[in-house]
């Protein structure tokens, strides 16, 4: 059954970026806005972010947006676009203040201001030493951002379609974006959402890898849909491994632990980060710390020979851990059976964050080529998008900042667009492509291969060969394997053929998204013959600015992947060697 809805603006994804956009849209009189989310919005993975959100508020010591911008550019290994980074770091201050006004319960300084603490890669005086810049609410900052934005959506009367899975974006015959197709999970019905403007804020795709901090829901739906519709994907080779995931489970242990003074130690008890990053030590940027941990493990200094090292917070005392890191203490007790007050935490790097995604300009408008040609009516924000403010490696806290700054910008840009734009007519049978994908999955007779086995194999090969240390041979192997899995996927059978809450069907459809994104990731990675940020090649160990100071765009055309490049925008900070 098909239902049709008409709105001015449509936000796809109920996480931090999407809800921030929705709040701004709801403030524009006369605009009809809806949010479509495959989860109840408060289940979104923004809520799992822990440590904080950076803004140069200078509540505890001198700080400036220029310092924040420099750190972000350096963290990005000079691949971030500096005009967008400067804007983000400037706007960080009013946006964080606005979140406080919306009700966000930040932790407080003794004089009642928003509390701030150090975080990896964030420095004073352009790299001289750590600075207290991360605004936090204990170790549940993302949870409080998500709750506060949801609360303000309720206050503003935002209309939600909860548990609606986006399946496709609708492009009108003149090329404009004019809506999306969604699958109502409860009933199996398809819905056509017809709108002047659509924003994809569907989050990341950490489920491509086997050890990940990401939710089961993080399957990159919006990014994969864009790819299928001929929209390029930018810088997909840059995927961040967070240094400190709980051993084997991948659950995130916030960098805030190190911000509060936690130390990484190898099997000899050595504080090994002193060797890799003499100034910033344990608070170097994430790519540097993850590589250091991997190197310690490879050289036999993992704890008891295992693929892990210790994150030691025992010297911080019960007061700091219970008050500033209560959720971390809870995770350790629940999943490890240890008390971080008394014992070190066994950790390993965990797949965490996509620097790449759907390319946009600084106002969240999706661009469809390296000349920044705007796709009218289509927007993207948050982890789904690649502005690029994170370049080759994102700094800790800048994901939450990206959400709120670009969520706001996206909402404002869409509101402005909608007040003048007309509603393009729908193309014929706009739901046909979505219907075809579902029918194909439902049409395979029983007894086919389970989707889960293909997912396991994809995650394992991506973990082994497109992880922290990469080689041309390994990545080529991964690319071939993923392509083989895509072939085998055609024989996957879904055992639940019903229409009611069919998560069997949806999980299989999500796997198709993951496979597509794994392929683009491996392809982009094997293509880039240098090391930069999170992309570390053993066969090309140096950064190569002469040839590779540029963004990768991968576009799918008639089943073929086409690679093109876009120059990096450099304004204030010329590339130089990156030392922490």
């Amino acid at each position: 059954m098909i239902h049709t809805h008409t709105y001015d603006a449509l936000v796809v994804g109920g996480g931090g970026a999407g809800m921030m956009s929705a709040i701004y849209l709801s403030r524009t009189p006369g605009l009809r806005t809806a949010v479509i989310s495959k989860l109840y919005p408060t289940r979104s993975h923004t809520g799992a972010a822990q440590g904080g959100v950076c803004a140069a508020l200078a509540n505890l010591e001198e700080d400036h947006p220029e310092w924040h911008a420099f750190d972000t550019v350096k963290g990005s290994d000079y691949l971030g676009d500096q005009d967008a980074i400067a804007a983000m770091c400037e706007e960080a201050i009013p946006v964080i203040i606005e979140l406080e006004h919306m009700g966000l319960p930040f932790s407080r300084t003794p004089d009642g201001k928003i509390a701030q603490r150090p975080f990896g890669g964030h420095t004073h005086h352009f790299g001289q030493g750590p600075v207290r810049r991360s605004c936090y609410a204990a170790d549940r900052t993302g949870h409080m951002i998500l709750q506060t934005l949801y609360q303000n959506c309720i206050k503003g009367g935002v209309e939600f379609f909860d548990e609606f899975q986006v399946m496709d974006v609708i492009l009108a015959d003149d090329g404009r974006c004019c809506g999306c197709i969604a699958y109502e999970v409860a009933t199996g019905d398809l819905h056509i959402f017809h709108a002047k403007a659509v924003e994809f804020a569907t989050g990341g795709f950490g489920r491509v890898w086997s050890i990940t901090s990401n939710a089961h829901a993080n399957t990159g739906d919006g990014v994969a849909i864009a790819l299928r519709r001929g929209i390029p994907l930018e810088d997909m080779e840059f995927y961040q491994f967070h240094p400190t995931g709980i051993y084997r489970l991948g659950i995130l242990i916030t960098e805030g632990v190190r911000g509060e003074g936690g130390i990484l130690r190898n099997d000899h008890g050595e504080r090994f980060m002193e060797r890799y990053a003499p100034t910033m030590k344990d608070l170097a940027s994430r790519d540097v710390v993850s590589r250091a941990i991997s190197m310690e493990i490879r050289e036999g200094r993992g704890i008891n020979g295992k693929k892990m090292v210790y994150l030691d917070a025992t010297h911080l005392g019960a007061d700091v851990i219970e008050n500033k890191l209560p959720d971390i203490a809870d995770f350790c007790r629940t999943y490890l059976g240890i008390d971080p007050v008394k014992e070190p935490m066994p950790i390993q790097p965990t797949a965490h964050y996509a620097m790449g995604g759907i390319p946009t300009d600084a106002n969240c408008r999706v661009v469809r080529d390296v000349n920044n040609t705007v796709l009218p009516g289509m927007y993207a924000a948050g982890e789904t998008a690649c502005v690029s403010v994170h370049g080759a490696n994102r700094l800790g806290t800048n994901s939450l900042l990206d959400l709120v700054v670009f969520g706001r910008r996206g909402g404002l840009a869409m509101a402005e667009f909608c007040t003048t734009a007309d509603l393009p007519p729908l193309p014929k049978n706009p739901e046909a492509f979505a219907r075809e994908q579902l029918d194909r999955l439902l049409g395979v007779k029983g007894g086919g291969e389970p989707a889960a086995r293909i997912r396991d194999e994809m995650q394992d090969v991506m973990q082994d060969d497109v992880g922290i240390y990469r080689t041309g041979e390994g990545m080529a192997n991964a690319l071939a394997k993923v392509r083989e899995l895509k072939e085998r996927f055609k024989g996957v059978s879904v055992s639940d053929k019903g229409t009611r809450f069919n998560t069997d069907l949806l999980e299989a459809w999500e796997l198709a998204n993951l496979l597509d994104l794994a392929e683009v990731t491996a392809l982009s990675a094997v293509n880039r013959t240098e090391s930069r940020g999170a992309h570390m090649r053993e066969d090309y160990q140096s950064r190569d600015d002469a040839n590779w100071l540029k963004h990768t765009f991968v576009t799918q055309r008639d089943g073929e992947m086409d690679i093109t490049y876009k120059p990096v925008t450099i304004t204030q900070f010329q590339p130089k060697e990156r030392v922490y």
């Binding site: 989860l39 289940r43 932790s107 509390a115 549940r140 219970e322 809870d330 809450f501």
Partner: protein
């Protein structure tokens, strides 16, 4: 009831089957199954999985769904106790499936949907009434006075921030409300989760509409339905002291003001 089936282990996070066969043990899951489109009434089906003691109950459910019976239906997302998707009744008590380990539930585990809401399918219940209760208490900051002319944050002391710290932890999983006998007896009772979220704003020094929320909760379907049974506190996966919070709201209603003495915990949760 179907005969128990043995399922090949899969490893929750990806292909570590061999290790699990070596260390895992056999667990029988007795699962509530109901698809109203085809079933006249709910049934319990048994599945046998191999699981490590440190696996989550969610991992065991995933093994069944991914490798044995794809039609088994439940909600899940973050898998580490933060998103609130997978609250369900595990051996008779409300828990998040991702926050209970196999070693803590024994060899035979009965899993059922939350009580008090319509079952959509298997372990999935209709959450709309729950969110309607939540929305009824004005769960958002209200303060129409001008923001500071400095363009900066409203100030709040560490002490004032502490008064509502505990209730900011709520993830809206509904484990508390659906464990409450008062809610089972009266579905119109606003329920502990909504009161927790009202408390979070009533005691926030920046909010100006505490009395309006206190009036809402002074209704016959408000806090007075609470009989201080403590099920909610025991069910909360975030360890929020819910009964204490409800008590503070009751006290504020009786006093006609939020200016009551709030007993602080041994440690302070502010930064």
């Amino acid at each position: 009831m179907a005969a128990p089936k043995t399922i090949k282990p899969s490893a929750g996070g990806g292909g570590k089957a061999a290790a699990k066969l070596a260390t895992g043990k056999r667990i029988v899951l007795r699962l509530y199954r109901f698809n109203p489109d085809v079933d006249e009434k709910p049934v319990y089906r048994e599945y046998t999985v191999t699981a490590d003691p440190t696996d989550r109950v969610l991992d065991a459910l995933n093994q069944v769904k991914w490798y044995e019976d794809g039609s088994l239906t439940y909600r899940r997302s973050c898998a580490h106790g933060i998103c609130g998707s997978d609250a369900m009744r595990i051996n008779g008590v409300n828990r998040l499936a991702c926050k209970v380990l196999i070693r803590d539930v024994g060899d035979h585990v009965t899993i059922e949907p939350l009580m008090g809401f319509r079952v959509i399918k298997d372990l999935v219940v209709d959450m709309e009434p729950f969110f309607a209760q939540y929305r009824s208490v004005l769960p958002f900051l209200i303060n129409d006075s001008p923001v500071p002319s400095t363009g900066r944050e409203r100030l709040q002391s560490v002490h004032d921030r502490e008064k509502f710290d505990d209730t900011t932890k709520c993830i809206l999983c509904a484990a508390c409300t659906t464990s409450c006998p008062s809610f089972w007896a009266d579905e119109n009772f606003v329920g502990p989760a909504a009161i927790v979220n009202a408390h979070r704003f009533i005691f926030d020094s920046r909010d100006t509409n505490a009395n309006e929320r206190l009036d809402i909760l002074n209704d016959r379907e408000g806090v007075w339905r609470c009989r201080t049974i403590f099920n909610c506190t025991e069910a909360c996966p975030r360890e929020i002291r819910i009964t204490k919070a409800i008590g503070e709201v009751k006290k504020a209603i009786l006093k006609g003001s939020r200016d009551i003495h709030i007993r602080q915990p041994a440690t302070s949760h502010a930064g």
